[in-house]
Symmetry: C2
Subunit: 90 residues, 2 copies
Amino acid sequence: MVRTPLTPWERRRGERFGALLREARGERSMVEVAAAAGVSAETLRKIETGRAPTPAFFTVAALAGALGLSLDVLVAACAQDAEERDALSA
Amino acid sequence: MVRTPLTPWERRRGERFGALLREARGERSMVEVAAAAGVSAETLRKIETGRAPTPAFFTVAALAGALGLSLDVLVAACAQDAEERDALSA
DNA sequence: CATGCCTGTGATACTAATACCGGTATAAGA
DNA sequence: TCTTATACCGGTATTAGTATCACAGGCATG
């Protein structure tokens, strides 16, 4: 095996991550936020829906900047959610 | 064109980013840090040398955690370097 | 009803990230 | 000297991220 496929856990983490971004976007439109971050709207959509579970670092950094989010807080929230999920549904 | 190839600017940013990680690693070995972050040593090496200029978000997050770095500080440092470079070599 | 606009979506294409393998060089230590 | 460890490099294979194209639903306006 050359490159390990994404584990279900990683996909769940991606869904959580996307949900956080979507929540932070609020009433703003996808295209508006995507344009502000300098990425395509489709990319933002895939990240929000969890279809791109492990996006590029600078893509996330640009989105976080456009949304006024802290990257450290973001990863912490993801890790916390993951722990809760693991604890609940083992 | 479907996916835009990486621009020289992005590659330079990747080099800067890798240099920051390498500096933060200090005396520790690649394999040690890579293992602590849960990534392969080759991946860490490529990121440090700039051969992987746009690494995955969670890969960077894991490395930053293993190195005790803040992601926000990291991107800020990259952006600052990029601005300096732009200002100098326009 | 038809037309246009805006939002989000599905399919497709192409590039890059990641991992494994082998080889090379350098330095430290037995 | 020989061995070991570390890092670097090239090639290869496979998955995943990203962008363009084409389409559908809602909503206003003529």
